[in-house]
Symmetry: C2
Subunit: 136 residues, 2 copies
């Protein structure tokens, strides 16, 4: 148990809880422009992937794989974007984003844009869909 782990307040503000995986908190980014997941390993002080020990890395990559497949199943994207950047929010987090040739940023990366919030019912429906696919 990482009882001292606290989610970065900016990640908390920008995203919505989807699931508690074995290693990571899984959250939906609040920008409705993209089906956009964020995985945050509950490891105190981790900033970079290399800060995880090999078993934690293995678990993270399994969870990235699982979440990637959920996005493919739910949204049939043209491409996945998977990235650990952390230049602004240093707490280690991994973006897994479904990209489409007609999405508003294509083919550029998604970061640095104005976020378009979900309507509450659309957000709840999307979270429920993701939770159902994760539970299968």
């Amino acid at each position: 148990m990482n009882t001292d782990f606290v989610l970065d307040p900016r990640l908390l503000a920008d995203s919505h809880a989807v699931a508690t995986l074995e290693l990571c908190d899984l959250r939906l980014h609040g920008d409705s422009s993209f089906p956009w997941l964020i995985l945050i390993p509950r490891i105190v002080g981790a900033r970079d992937l290399i800060d995880l020990d090999p078993s934690q890395q293995g678990r993270l990559y399994e969870e990235i794989d699982r979440c990637s497949r959920v996005l493919v199943q739910a949204f049939s994207p043209h491409k996945l974007n998977v990235a650990a950047l952390g230049n602004v929010v240093e707490q280690l987090h991994v973006h897994v984003i479904a990209r489409f040739r007609d999405d508003p940023a294509w083919p550029a990366p998604v970061w640095g844009r104005v976020s378009v919030a979900y309507a509450a019912d659309a957000r709840e429906a999307r979270i429920a869909q993701l939770q159902e696919l994760l539970g299968r």
Copy 2:
């Protein structure tokens, strides 16, 4: 042996060979603004991380970890950026980039900028440094 594997011509044009790892071709991006490595798994037709089988994924992540540690050893960056995007070049490739608070893109991601080419001697020196660290 993946004898049918051919490196995407845009990756070939934008980067320089550093090493042939077990799974990946390791290349130095030609933009001298950042110490920027690209790993390209020699798997024909792979576009996304989920296109690799579990053993290939495991090997890729080991090679990302190794290259990340080489960048830390060589450049002591403030942060690493690790990303598989592929919106423009679809052939699966992973960026591993050393970032600094005084680099020309900070804190934004590095993509979409005008590339500043290395002088030939600086490029060769950087590649030799990376090769030496990889060989240890």
